[in-house]
Amino acid sequence: MRVASPGLPRVGTTAIVYAALVALLVISTALVAARGGSFLSQANTVDMLTRSSLLGFVAIGQTLVILCRSLDLSVGYVMALSSLVAATTMNGDPNRIVLGAGAALGVSALVGLVNGLVITGLKVNAFIATLGTGLLLKAYLDTRYKGPSGAVPEAFQLFGYMRIAIVPLSTAVMLVLAVLGWILLQRTRVGYHMFAVGGNDEVARLSGVRTGRTVITAHVLCSVMAGVAGLLIAARFGTGSAQVYSLGYDLDSIAAVVLGGTLLLGGRGSVAGTVGGVLILATLDTAFNVLQVDPFFKDVLRGAIIVVAVALYARRQIDPTSSRARFRGGGGHGPDPVPAAPPPRTGTTKAEVTS
């Protein structure tokens, strides 16, 4: 049991994320200014916001499943599938926009349903389940679509290119969905139950929460969000593209989520933090572009930042005043016997352990 440090309010993780974002913006602005440029110019800001919208969609969905102590590695493939379904259904016909978007999101939802059912019904570890469905989708995409397919009507391409002042439409949509995600988690029962399932499956169950249904809902929503990202891809490219899955959105979205302070093991986190994490990654990308840093350095730094961020969050978890102390003074608390073994994901792996 942790005991609160007396008198000190807990600094919210989300606040730390946004403080880091502001610091990053200040540093980037200073660095760019030193070279006689302007970091927060209109072009750069638009670039940054556009980058965040695509990853943002996926990461918001990923937040929901990770909160439930699950995980989705299939999002990149869902994005690709959604872009193809949308583009081939629309096939350049402006009258079929709604049909195409609906079909794309419907197919995405179906993938999420399968993920959720495999995880809760067949008790397959989320990592394996979504890796598996992802591979199945990959095989389908690679076999069925050799190159870009379908065409998106101009009207729909506006989703990719239209701007409201400085804010791209896609970013605005992403922010609206983020607000909806926030409402879901903060104001709806299913959102409450996601925290509960991720925090402690057994406690949730004993309190009457239908845990399986909650996890399935999270997976469906996560896939739908990936589907929205796929629609944006289609709108940007004007066509559906199978190769989107190789862009690494699956792992990037997980990175953005944990960077935003959501525990990889579930039960704690927020959409606001995730949006912060997404903005940090997008700012890094834009800053590197403007500073003409080697794009590969970006990968190195990103990998390092993710690990360091999670390590720092892990530190925060270990409260120095942990465990009920009867006698204080005379040296600190002894080290834990074991570095906390990351408990396996979802109830499914718990099942594995005893199998």
Binding site: G132, T133, A139, T143, D299, I318, P342, S355
Partner: protein
């Protein structure tokens, strides 16, 4: 696990892997009798050896209760490092091989220490390592691999001993057998048993005097070293490209799971994990023989891992499901009902 033959067949073990292998090859031979010739079989072994070695490495990490997602990009990094450092100079072969092993060791130590001492989940640690390696190597080479591998370097991966009638016996067969034998011996040693103990129950392991962090770090080091060995064979077999190694971590995890090793740790045999790798390669071969497009391969992989894990999961029993609210047989009691 009783009573269901399908379950017992698919839930793994060395014997299961062997049985599956025989079955697959029987089908392959029927489709293409020439595949039964020693030269074809040896060519198959040459192709399968790197994955078998990777699976052994991944086994150690999974058995200790962790994941290693960095092996794919480590293989890629090692091949590119070798090409750049060798630059076609035969005399550099041995020093470069040595350097690669040192680099592999370093990667494993970092993975292990970050996971155990900094308490970062290994999924994130090795994901970060994957990104770092991917970027760092391209940063170093300016995007595309440069230099060239030497003939001597490529020998283990594509050369062999000419054995007359049966053709070329590949070096990779010997490397694979040596790695396999060492892995099995290691698992029978005190280290192997402590590794499984750590994967099974880290708390009990710690109460038994096991240094859990050290053992887990050792598993990561083994994984990285074996990925280095696999990289040497892959570089020799396929040469150097920018894509080399991509996705291998998931293929290796699939192989290990197919070998009946439990994710989460503590259960399974290294021999079965390596057998799983051979079965997986055999399946890919079967697909070629059936004329299925290579793009369909991932589908097999996807179905296999889900099925293997689903069938290894215990039956749904023991936990009583909560009844729906309000079905209590007790006297009705006013409970605060949600308004609205």
């Amino acid at each position: 696990m009783k009573g269901n033959p399908l379950r017992s067949v698919l839930s793994g073990g060395t014997a299961t892997a062997a049985a599956l292998l025989v079955l697959i090859f029987a089908v392959v031979f029927v489709i293409n009798p020439s595949f039964a010739e020693p030269s074809s079989m040896l060519a198959f072994v040459k192709k399968a050896a790197p994955l078998v070695i990777l699976a052994a490495g991944q086994y150690f990490v999974i058995a200790s209760g962790e994941f290693d997602l960095s092996v794919g990009s480590l293989v890629g990094a090692q091949v590119v490092i070798a090409a750049k450092l060798l630059d076609g100079e035969d005399s550099r072969t041995v020093p470069v091989l040595f350097l690669m092993l040192v680099f592999g060791l370093l990667v494993g130590v970092v993975n292990g220490l970050v996971t155990t001492l900094l308490r970062v989940p290994s999924f994130i640690t090795t994901l970060g390592m994957m990104l770092v390696l991917y970027g760092a190597i391209r940063l170093w080479t300016g995007g595309a691999p440069t230099g060239a591998l030497t003939e001597a370097f490529r020998q283990p991966g594509r050369g062999g001993i000419d054995a007359g009638a049966i053709g070329l016996v590949p070096w990779s067969l010997f490397v694979m057998l040596a790695v396999g034998a060492l892995a099995v011996l290691l698992m029978r040693s005190p280290f192997g048993r402590t590794l499984l103990a750590v994967g099974d129950n880290p708390v009990a392991a710690s109460f038994s005097g096991i240094r859990v962090a050290l053992v887990r770090t050792g598993a990561f080091v083994l994984s990285s070293l074996l990925a280095t060995v696999a990289a040497i064979l892959i570089g020799g077999y396929a040469g150097v490209t920018a894509q080399v190694g991509t996705g291998l971590e998931f293929v290796a995890i699939t192989a290990v799971v197919l070998g009946g090793v439990a994710l989460g740790g503590g259960k399974g045999f290294v021999s079965a994990a390596m057998g799983g790798a051979i079965v997986l390669e055999a399946l890919f071969t079967l697909f070629n023989q059936l004329g299925l497009p290579s793009t369909a391969r991932p589908a097999v992989q996807g179905v296999i891992i889900i099925a293997a894990v689903a069938l290894a999961a215990p039956q749904l029993s023991g936990t009583r499901r909560p009844p729906r609210r309000g079905t209590a047989t007790a006297a009705p009691v006013p409970t605060p009902e949600p308004v609205g």
